[in-house]
């Protein structure tokens, strides 16, 4: 039985690019420990340095700023840990400012820090998910150590004015971090232009391997390792080099840089086709997030009176893969905290579906979704309590 497979969950993760697959496969020959002095070690080390440069080039930054990690979650945790440690050591700057719609790897870190008594403020966002700049301005003061604002939101796609916030943060003497995980490969990301001190990214969001990413750290920004140990990464992150995955990330970075313009246009076109098509075919639909400052491939929609997980699973049976709310396997139906933070009604926050496009999607995919989705919503609405 041949089935359509339409993967519209590219914000959760992407399939590796075929060149990445090939590079990862090839680099199995580079099995030496990149810290070893012998030939096998040196070969691995060389491949890693080439990847570091490709990645640096993609984000317009020195390659020496890159610290390879196991992904963006670790990178985000590392940044917050740096400032936790500084505060522990008695720094007068003992407040952290972030937002209400960060990725769980920041939201949960904030919860943890608050439980321990640290001072963390989460700046609210408007109904489109954009940071309220007037509140942000008030939150910034000379007791702020770190400001952390994501570049593009994983759920609703809203893009934040990170460069502007970085300027304000620096004026008050704070350091600035951005979680650029969702933006890399979809919009131009220049660390220099953003003016941030720290930037997190993860390879599997731009057709690279899973389990590898980076924290990019400006030379003058404070640092403290989360994982202590060997001398890898100049003592910044211990653990035997994950050569194959780092090589894969480098190849993915080069492709992302090469194809950025094309990719961006393509994703936006497909996303708009779907948005318009849904609005034409289904009544009572709410499109979430900012429609002007938006990641090109993200479309988040609430369908009142149709529950998210049920929509997801009915779509799944048609071979269409999407996500609902935050993509966590929470088990119980929690409303999306991102939508709640944007002031979206709780019922709408329960029933949102995220369609996220990637380079392998086609116009046929959109047409297929537009054929299958309306009857599913109709059916669920009929079944629903009124």
């Amino acid at each position: 039985m041949e089935q359509n497979i339409i993967y519209l969950d590219n914000n959760a993760t992407t399939a590796m690019h075929e060149d990445v697959i090939e590079a990862v496969h090839q680099s199995n020959m580079l099995y030496g420990n990149a810290s070893s002095m012998h030939m096998a070690g040196r070969q691995a080390a060389l491949a890693i340095e080439q990847s570091r440069q490709a990645l640096a080039s993609l984000i317009d930054e020195e390659s020496s700023s890159i610290v390879f990690t196991s992904g963006a979650s670790e990178a985000n945790n590392t940044v917050f840990n740096i400032f936790k440690e500084r505060i522990d050591l008695g720094s007068k700057r003992n407040r952290i400012v972030t937002t209400t719609i960060e990725h769980p790897s920041i939201i949960e870190t904030v919860k943890y820090l608050r439980q321990l008594g640290y001072n963390v403020d989460e700046c609210p966002v408007d109904s489109t998910g954009r940071v309220k700049m007037d509140v942000m301005n008030k939150l910034l003061g000379d007791d702020v150590a770190l400001v952390s604002v994501m570049l593009g939101n994983n759920e609703i796609g809203t893009i934040q004015p990170v460069a502007e916030i970085a300027r304000l943060a620096h004026q008050t003497g704070a350091f600035m971090h951005t979680d650029a995980t969702q933006a890399i490969g979809k919009i131009p990301v220049s660390m220099r232009e953003l003016g941030v001190d720290y930037l997190s990214l993860s390879a599997h969001k731009f057709y690279g391997p899973k389990g590898v990413g980076a924290l990019v750290v400006k030379a003058k920004a404070p640092y403290a390792p989360l994982v202590h140990g060997g001398h890898q990464e100049g003592g910044k992150r211990a653990g035997t080099y994950n050569t194959a995955s780092i090589v894969g990330m480098g190849v993915a970075a080069s492709i992302a840089q090469r194809d950025l313009d094309m990719e961006r246009k393509k994703l936006w076109k497909l996303r708009e086709m779907l948005r318009v098509g849904i609005l034409e075919r289904i009544s009572n639909v709410v499109v979430n997030g900012n429609q002007e400052h938006c990641l090109p491939g993200t479309l988040d929609v609430s369908f009142p009176h149709a529950e998210g997980e049920s929509i997801l699973l009915y779509l799944d049976m048609e071979g269409i893969m999407v996500s609902t709310g935050s993509a966590c396997a929470s088990g119980s139906l929690e409303p999306s905290y991102v939508l709640l933070a944007s002031g979206v009604d709780i019922e709408l926050a329960h029933g949102s579906i995220r369609f996220s496009f990637g380079r392998y999607n086609t116009e046929q995919d959109v047409a297929y979704v537009l054929e299958k989705l309306p009857p599913i919503i109709k059916r669920l609405r009929e079944m629903s309590t009124r």
């Binding site: 139906l333 929690e334 009929e382």
Partner: protein
């Protein structure tokens, strides 16, 4: 690798009931019920309504509506099939465990979804008895269930 390719988290029975839910109230259907049970709230993400027709203390027919996840839909559908024909007493003692068993199991973190339909059924029976002006003979035998999805633990459900 290929053997992973056709797996579904839910059992074939769950899948069948989710795809073809039984006894849902159709949009234009006129269903003259004798008892109605409403539980849940949109705030907690699930809402359930059950309508029953009763004759000689037996459930003659049943309709339901839900705003809920796949597990809630499948368990309520299964429950509706199991409940029709039962005496009120038997129906009152249907447990989530019986329903999940009949479904061939639910993923562990989804057991609590089966509580909802079961609870709505009892609410409908309560409503019926109240409308009849009769004392409720079953209530004291049954442990109280709190259905706020997240506060219902698996252990509590086992205990039912």
């Amino acid at each position: 690798m290929t053997n992973f390719m056709s797996q579904w988290v839910y059992t074939p029975v769950v899948k069948d009931h989710f795809m073809n839910p039984r006894n849902t109230l159709k949009e234009d259907e006129q269903f003259d019920y004798d008892g109605i049970g409403d539980v849940g709230s949109l705030a907690c993400g699930d809402q359930m309504q059950i309508l029953i027709k009763v004759k000689d203390d037996r459930i003659l027919d049943l309709r339901w509506l839900t705003y809920g996840c796949a597990s809630a839909i499948a368990s309520t559908s299964m429950m509706s099939e199991m409940a029709i024909g039962l005496t009120l007493e038997e129906a009152y003692h249907l447990t989530p465990a019986m329903i999940t068993d009949a479904l061939g199991g639910l993923p562990e973190h989804k057991f609590h979804c089966s509580v909802l339909g079961d609870k709505a059924l009892r609410a409908a029976i309560d409503d019926y008895l109240e409308k009849q002006g009769r004392e409720n003979p079953f209530k004291k035998h049954v442990a109280k269930v709190i259905c706020e999805c997240k506060s219902v633990t698996d252990v509590q459900i086992e205990d039912l």
